[in-house]
Symmetry: C2
Amino acid sequence: MQQYSVKQVAKISGVSVRSLHLYDEIGLLKPAQRSEAGYRFYGETELLRLQQILFFKELGFPLAQVKQVLEQPDFELLKALEWQKKAFLERRAQMEQVLQTIDQTILHLKNKGVMSNVDWLYRGISKEQSEAWRKEATEQWGDAVEKSEKSLNDLSRAKVEELVAEQKAVGESLYRMRHHDPTSSEVQAMLVRHYQVIRAFWGTTGHSDKQAAAYAGLGDLYLADERYTMIDEEPQPEYAQFLQQAMAYFAETRLK
Amino acid sequence: MQQYSVKQVAKISGVSVRSLHLYDEIGLLKPAQRSEAGYRFYGETELLRLQQILFFKELGFPLAQVKQVLEQPDFELLKALEWQKKAFLERRAQMEQVLQTIDQTILHLKNKGVMSNVDWLYRGISKEQSEAWRKEATEQWGDAVEKSEKSLNDLSRAKVEELVAEQKAVGESLYRMRHHDPTSSEVQAMLVRHYQVIRAFWGTTGHSDKQAAAYAGLGDLYLADERYTMIDEEPQPEYAQFLQQAMAYFAETRLK
DNA sequence: CTTGACCCTTACGTAAGGTGAGCCCTTAAC
DNA sequence: GTTAAGGGCTCACCTTACGTAAGGGTCAAG
């Protein structure tokens, strides 16, 4: 029967020698024999068991649970696996959102040159946290700007106030038009003003293609995150939908 | 100006008091003031910074890097974000695979009742590890069975040998037919034998619907993991494709 | 004046090892 | 016969981002 030293097992299995020591120590994987000098030697059986250990480790089980699972009959295993699957699905969903956040942040940064802290700050935060912020943000449009006022160091205070007022007015107008056709001329005309405001906040760099993408992206953002279109603490999904469509159309027809 | 105690900040932001202490200690987030008695008090500015911290933490940055990022200009941030995105995409891809593995394992367990250690053992293992195993598994069909022989305690040794031989023969026959139509009668006839062998290994429990699903699932597995259809260390993707199609057809027409 | 809710610091525990020191074993080369 | 290399062993401290006391100070209300 074949005997393998720690180094050999490490090489075969890809785990470190230290890990093997650890697994031995916690009784997860004991060597088949010890030489007189205390050297560990593993057989085929142990390699097989190591495979199982790595399998469950890869699934995200902590070592203690791996140990349990390998000692338990199949029934428990099944339950453990299904539990693990649920946890995995959750984590994946969360990752999806984080990825979106990263993408949008990158987009914003690229098209802005300078970070204004206006938008991205409030994204990708976990439920309770945003919950808390929501309470403080009674009025979406004005408040977000006000909060980030400090960081808009490239704009004068007067300019900021002007923009806030304009933003507010535009927002209200658009909201009143929420049942119009998003591609209609009156809506699109209002979007010109909206676009100007946004540009003023973001600075006006980059190629026009990129600007189009950025503006359309902002529309998607409104759709993806209800906080952007909340009015008096109430989310407005159809308004978000309307805005997104209008902005996409605007980007397509005016900015390309 | 508003002042917040640790407890209040914790409640607002959702982080623990301990974390705030830690962030203070490592200089990531210092309170605006300390009272005479040493009490920490945070202002709006600090809450804002905390939001940023949480944002990057959510993106998976270690605290040390968060600190760096918040001190660096935007340029570095952009690079960091894109780097992070790549890492994220990788992790997601890996998760996808693990999820598949879990699903298949669950399926196998459910349709088998008893775990045979034949298949699932060799799945979901990282590259280097499977690399090592691959070297030892010169002959896929026979070897995998031989290796798991010990655990097939419900089958006699003679029976196992018979099955191994049959499995081998069937596998070779199927391989020779790999350019035939997967739905042809000669292929499907051979699949009957294949199915018998598989059933013998797995035990024969469960509803026929489930058996159909399991058998088709095994076909998918052949397609998903080249190790199942390797011949002389060479992966055989078209053979895998052929097998998967043939088995899916078989499951659909004979097992439902 | 006491009670209870806060706050502080200090310090140990956690998971899964990485890294290194100090020392022993075995083997091949000189 | 010795020596150097390459393992191997144990012991023990380091890491991340906190959790969880322990032991003691502060502050407002009753």
